[in-house]
């Protein structure tokens, strides 16, 4: 499983049923290898979100084949898609989506709830993930007492706790000021250097510049811009 591409899209398309039918994502091919750092850029309404949802198994393509870790996801039912989503993909959202009444640690542990992580190991893994994003000193802090950057790092810890094959980030700095955005992007760079495969979906060129590969999407058409990012 390791060694092969993490993501392989073959002619994947998503058309929202009409009338009139809206082709949000035109047939697209994309390969993301293990250890890649890919930025998907495009203006709003270009189909970025649709691609994110398809990649994140939150939405099903209407055409084509999507292989995740070599598994053909189009043949899978809800149970297996949920298992893949929980185990192989780590989501980082623009709005963090932390539960406001739960501590940082509890928010991270939420990701261990549904994937059969043995109860005895949950706490240790969550603590480890939070230390990994530099929040070892704020384990019991509530999201309301954390800065935006800290919130996003908790969310990244939550995405990492199951050691996913792909870290899928949706505008990870969209709600952050430039200082906080910089620390978050640094963290992503470090994670990629540590071997995590990362896909960032953004409209922000400075965010995209961190990635080694850039993929542009416009009007639902995906096009790779080789050498766009910095090495």
């Amino acid at each position: 499983m390791m060694g092969g591409p993490v993501i392989e899209l073959r002619g994947v398309a998503r058309t929202y049923p009409g009338p009139p039918p809206v082709p949000a994502l035109r047939p697209a091919d994309l390969v993301i290898d293990a250890g890649d750092y890919v930025a998907v850029t495009g203006p709003s309404g270009s189909g970025k979100s649709t691609l994110l949802h398809v990649l994140g198994l939150l939405d099903t393509p209407t055409a084509g084949t999507y292989l995740l870790d070599g598994l053909d996801t189009s043949a899978l039912g809800d149970r297996d898609r949920s298992a893949l989503r929980g185990g192989r993909i780590g989501f980082v959202f623009q709005a963090f989506h932390l539960l406001p009444y739960r501590t940082a640690l509890e928010n991270v542990q939420l990701a261990e709830l549904y994937n059969q992580t043995p109860r005895g190991q949950r706490l240790d893994r969550a603590v480890e993930a939070l230390r990994g994003v530099g929040l070892g000193h704020r384990l019991d802090a509530l999201p309301t007492t954390l800065s935006g950057g800290e919130c996003q790092r908790v969310a990244i810890a939550r995405a990492l706790v199951n050691r996913p094959s792909l870290l899928l980030c949706d505008e990870p700095t969209g709600n952050l000021d430039s200082a906080n955005a910089a620390t978050v992007m640094e963290l992503l760079d470090e994670l990629n250097a540590a071997g995590f495969t990362i896909a960032v979906i953004t409209h922000d060129a400075s965010v995209a510049s961190h990635a080694r590969r850039a993929v542009a999407i416009s009007d639902g058409v995906l096009s790779e811009r080789i050498g766009a990012g910095h090495a």
């Binding site: 979100s49 949802h53 994140g56 939150l58 939405d59 598994l71 043949a75 899978l76 039912g77 809800d78 149970r79 297996d80 949920s82 298992a83 893949l84 989503r85 929980g86 185990g87 989501f91 959202f93 623009q94 709005a95 989506h97 539960l99 009444y101 739960r102 509890e106 939420l110 990701a111 709830l113 549904y114 994937n115 059969q116 939550r158 505008e171 969209g174 709600n175």
Partner: protein
């Protein structure tokens, strides 16, 4: 099959995790949770309190239900079906001459005898010895009583003796009077040896006994008792028929617990040829009494309890539905970290169930408290039947599950896309 091919572990949410997620969901909003529970608390509380108070009240009634009442059987002579007595006269009394002896042969009977209120002509008066010419100012009842009846009445003698079998068999003009009447007529207990007489409408009766109190029949009235046969000779047969107030009756003192059994046998034993002529009144069965009490007011309160449970269910359903709408983001996140729709449904259903159960628990405590406090305030013994007190919190669970079903379904159907779109 598919699972074997992919080798993926199935997403799972254990019962323990479901419960702790549900508890966390409730605990993080305690104020709202309490308000949500209110209807269930009131409903279950009312349920427990009503059943507890009725049981306590009924227990108290059966406790207060005195041993005396429980050991008394009354039999009334309703008269023959075909009255063959000559006009202007009454038929012979329905009880045989040896009625006392027959009754006392029944197992459980302590004493029994026939008595009736003698109807006196208008203007009849009770006068003491002619020398004193004292007249009773208040109403004095003249009662005919067999020796057995006197014993069954349980009179406490102050002076002299009870009416005897000899005096009855020979229709002696003797009488027993109560202390009040004795005082009014100037019959001092100490003077009984001088055979004072009381005149009733001019007929002299020698006072042979003075009693101070009685357990049955003549408990709270001034009365003069004369032998049964003396009354028949002087005043004729009493008029039969219930409602006349002066029909012949039998009073039976029984052993504790024997009243019901005696009541079943007495009519046939006394009058085997026409037992239906005798109407038997036994003390009400304490259990019947209890169910009567439970029947009336309690059913009204139970209806009210049911209504508040219904309101409680609506409350939980409403709050859970609001929570589902409020927490679309959380639902989406949970889906993103691997939750299946059924896990989402289970979580919200569990939250509603836990809310209902907690409401039921609180309600049960409050209900039990109300019962204990109101019983204590009246010096009663609180009675709480564990058969319905212990499972009472489960009513809350059922309410919660029923109320949570629809919101949980809504939550499960929430699309993870819509849930995460908030930016």
């Amino acid at each position: 099959m598919r699972r074997a091919r992919t080798g993926l572990p199935s997403p799972r949410l254990s019962a323990r995790d479901t419960a702790s997620e549900a508890l966390a969901g409730i605990v993080q909003r305690p104020g709202r949770a309490l308000l949500t529970m209110l209807g269930t608390v009131l409903g279950v509380g009312a349920f427990v309190a009503v059943l507890g108070l009725t049981a306590t009240g009924a227990g108290q009634i059966s406790h207060q239900f005195t041993i005396l009442e429980d050991t008394t059987v009354n039999v009334q002579d309703n008269g023959p079906v075909n009255n063959v007595a000559p006009p202007g006269t009454n038929p012979a009394i329905g009880f045989p001459a040896d009625a006392d002896a027959i009754a006392e042969r029944i197992n459980g009977v302590v004493a029994a005898g026939v008595w009736w209120p003698v109807s006196l002509p208008d203007g009849a008066n009770f006068t003491g010895s002619l020398a004193l010419s004292a007249t009773a100012s208040q109403t004095v009842s003249l009662l005919a009583a067999s020796p057995g009846a006197v014993r069954a009445m349980g009179v406490t003698m102050v002076a002299g003796s009870r009416l005897s079998s000899y005096e009855n068999d020979t229709a002696q003009h003797v009488a027993m009077i109560d202390t009040t009447t004795a005082a009014e007529l100037g019959v001092a207990p100490a003077r009984l040896a001088s055979h004072p007489a009381v005149f009733v409408n001019g007929i002299a009766y020698t006072v042979v006994g003075i009693y101070s109190s009685a357990q049955r029949v003549v408990t709270d009235e001034s009365a003069m008792l004369i032998p049964e046969n003396t009354a028949l000779a002087d005043f004729g047969n009493p008029e039969p028929g219930i409602g006349n107030q002066d029909e012949a009756q039998m009073v039976i003192a029984t052993k504790i617990g024997a009243a019901q059994a005696v009541a079943r046998q007495i009519a046939a034993a006394e009058l085997p040829t026409d037992p239906s002529r005798l109407v038997v009144a036994s003390p009400p069965n304490p259990q019947n009494l209890q169910s009567e009490v439970t029947g009336d007011l309690a059913s009204l309160f139970l209806v009210l309890a049911l209504i508040s449970l219904l309101i409680g269910a609506v409350g939980i359903a409403n709050t859970t539905l609001v929570a589902v709408l409020e927490r679309t983001e959380e639902i989406g996140l949970r889906r993103a970290v691997g939750a299946r729709p059924r896990h989402i449904a289970a979580q919200f259903l569990a939250e509603a169930a836990v809310t209902g159960t907690l409401g039921g628990l609180i309600g049960t405590c409050i209900g039990a408290g109300v019962v204990v406090i109101s019983a204590a305030a009246k010096d009663w013994t609180a009675v709480l039947n564990p058969a319905y007190t212990l499972p009472a919190p489960l009513i809350g669970t059922v309410v919660g599950v029923l109320a949570g079903a629809y919101p949980a379904l809504r939550a499960a159907r929430t699309s993870p896309l819509a849930a995460l779109r908030t930016a």
